[in-house]
Symmetry: C2
């Protein structure tokens, strides 16, 4: 007996990621790891959550908190998000918002909403590994998005048609991207809008890290730029995916999607059919904690993560040999490193673990097209400032060794 023979064809694209398997090993004690991508648990607003859960489960509230609720999401949380989006230049109402179980679920639903097998998803190279994973379940073709506007729309459309489908969307992480840490400038954002408009397709703006800016001026969300162009969210093709995972907590799995109402309506049906709704009580407590302290808590995070970003950039200056380059992110959780062309991130990891017990993520996993062998991702949100300096010292030694 083997049920594998009756698995759907999509499962052939849904393989265990070698990188994810590897990451499990990297979190072992004794290893100084820059491989994770998770918030520092010491910075969770745990006391506020504890109070909020107690209140949600008080005799007058418990019947609601523990009961089924609507697929659209908890109304007071959606109302609070309306205010947040408005401050970002996106006037909307509650019917433009769906609560999801983290922004990962939004990516799954958007793949489900748009992709027939063989359709094309435009993605950056590198891009968020989890987005590639979510989309792959719908058997797409990936094409590399060139953000500077120097590849004509017709060229994307022709390539998609030749592959037997259509371009359906461009997926972007414009702010402090995972894995590069880079932020897309205003011109880049406008060029994405031009492209998706010329193709008449959606743009998916993954804003998971957007609140975590440590310096520099914030750039408006792509959705805000499109609202400014069109005057009305209902005329916009951009779908904004937000998350509380990097700001308040990832463990409660609360994110949201903002889009024109026909898109939200179809996503609500998708959610109804896939898990009915996100946990009621978690939405209630996230609303309470966000309403009470979102801005001040994000301020705390910015200070703490900003200091670690500074420490990492300083340590890289101090310890890295010539020929190695890295990004200088204005926010987020990652620095992206480019090694000399002939070097291989995966081999380097093996060596780094063996000789220095230091870990990172080889960069090729973030490319849909297998590029990026000579790249790697470093996380600075989990380690302390001291660990960062020690870790970069060790990584520098590994690199020096490999370069000689």
């Amino acid at each position: 007996m083997s049920l594998e023979q009756v698995f759907a064809s999509r499962t052939s694209q849904m393989k265990a990621s070698e990188i994810r398997e590897l990451l499990k090993l990297l979190e072992q004690p004794g290893i100084l790891s820059f491989a994770g991508g998770i918030p520092d648990p010491n910075l969770f607003p745990a006391e506020a959550f504890s109070e909020a859960y107690a209140r949600a489960l008080s005799p007058e509230n418990q019947a609601v908190a523990l009961q089924y609720s609507v697929s659209e999401g908890y109304l007071p949380l959606r109302r609070w998000l309306v205010g947040q989006m408005e401050r970002m230049g996106v006037p909307c109402d509650v019917d433009n918002i769906l609560i999801t179980s983290g922004s990962q679920q939004a990516l799954d639903y958007l793949g489900k909403l748009f992709l027939n097998a063989g359709d094309t998803a435009l993605v950056e190279g590198p891009t968020y590994m989890g987005a590639l994973g979510a989309f792959r379940a719908y058997e797409p073709r990936f094409d590399r998005l060139s953000v500077n506007g120097n590849r004509p729309a017709q060229d994307y459309a022709d390539a998609a048609q030749a592959a037997g489908g259509k371009v359906k969307f461009a997926y972007l992480t414009p702010d402090f991207a995972n894995p590069t840490g880079k932020t897309m400038d205003l011109r880049g954002r406008e060029s994405v809008l031009d492209l998706t408009e010329a193709l008449d397709v959606a743009s998916i703006e993954d804003a998971a890290y957007q609140a975590l800016r440590y310096d520099g001026d914030s750039v408006p969300p792509i959705l805000a730029l499109e609202v400014a162009r069109k005057g009305d969210l209902e005329a916009c093709r951009t779908i904004y995916c937000g998350s509380f995972s990097k700001t308040l907590t990832p463990g409660l799995r609360v994110g949201w999607v903002v889009a024109a109402k026909p898109v939200i309506r179809q996503l609500v049906l998708t959610k109804q059919a896939s898990d009915l709704h996100s946990p009621t009580i978690n939405q209630i407590v996230v609303h309470e904690v966000a309403a009470r302290m979102f801005e001040s808590h994000v301020g705390t995070l910015r200070q703490s993560y900003g200091a670690r970003r500074d420490a990492m950039l300083a340590a890289l200056e101090k310890h890295m040999p010539e020929g190695v380059e890295w990004t200088r992110p204005e926010g987020g959780m990652f620095v992206w490193m480019t090694l000399p062309k002939n070097m291989d991130g995966a081999s380097l990891l093996a060596e780094a673990l063996r000789s220095e017990m230091v870990a990172f993520v080889p960069g090729s996993a973030f490319f849909a097209d297998g590029a990026g062998a000579n790249t790697l991702r470093l996380n600075f949100s989990s380690p302390t400032v001291e660990q960062i300096d020690e870790g970069m010292l060790r990584l520098g030694r590994v690199l020096r060794g490999a370069l000689t």
Copy 2:
């Protein structure tokens, strides 16, 4: 601009359910509703949850409770479920279990795992509406499952092939089914195993209501029967979906799947790509509350819901006119009523709302093939015993009026 033009073809099958839209109206004050399918919130073990959340968020536990966790699910909860499954005749280990966000998510994942567009899902008529919704996203064909074994396997296979696909699974709710309240006997269960074995496909056992038995002898799960046949879960084709939604609380969205390891491994990948993991803290508190009081709490539910079931059956005897038939469920939350052939449940509902302010769900929504116009579903877990008697009195009056 209309993004609908680039929606995937599957969205044409994912329409808003008229019934679900209707149900929203039915929960208005003043209406005596038997339309819902939700637990009585007065029976939630809210105090135990409150204590468990407080403990999960204590200084020594909060870093884990609020952090990302593994896609497989919280290990102590999976261990506890190993014990539960063993008591039901299904020896397994933690790698045979995936935690899902309610059993609804398991149904979505199983659709994703098995169904290519055009493949056939065998479902009962009537069956759980949410299963039809979950599977429809993968563009299947539905065929009516005949449980008594009098339709040969080859006939199902031929029909599936003629429709351009393959039979991939049979989906069943063997215990106190939603909507019928019926329980499949041992012979029915064995015949399902014979059929899925002859077809060499999966059987999906949705056990959402299994713990809620009020009288009669329990029948072993289909998976237990298959383990007894084969001697080893790894040789089994049955996939068991459990849920805490009807026993502890639906608002936390915690369910589980038990199956052979290759199936669980692929479902873990599916979960990783779709929402990373179910909320960490909810899994922790469900484990604590289940370990502390699952059996005693289910005992309380059985008493309370059993009394309401008794009240509904007594009220139906008292108030229903001749020509109307109904099921006598041994558990669960529903009684299924069959009206004379020429009557229509939807028209009756309109009349019942107008003249008596009493509500139920017309039965046709539970059929994949549009049958069942003369059926309806009555819920007895939400209303009180007094409301049940009053409601059946009113419904009896409506039916008498419609029958004259």
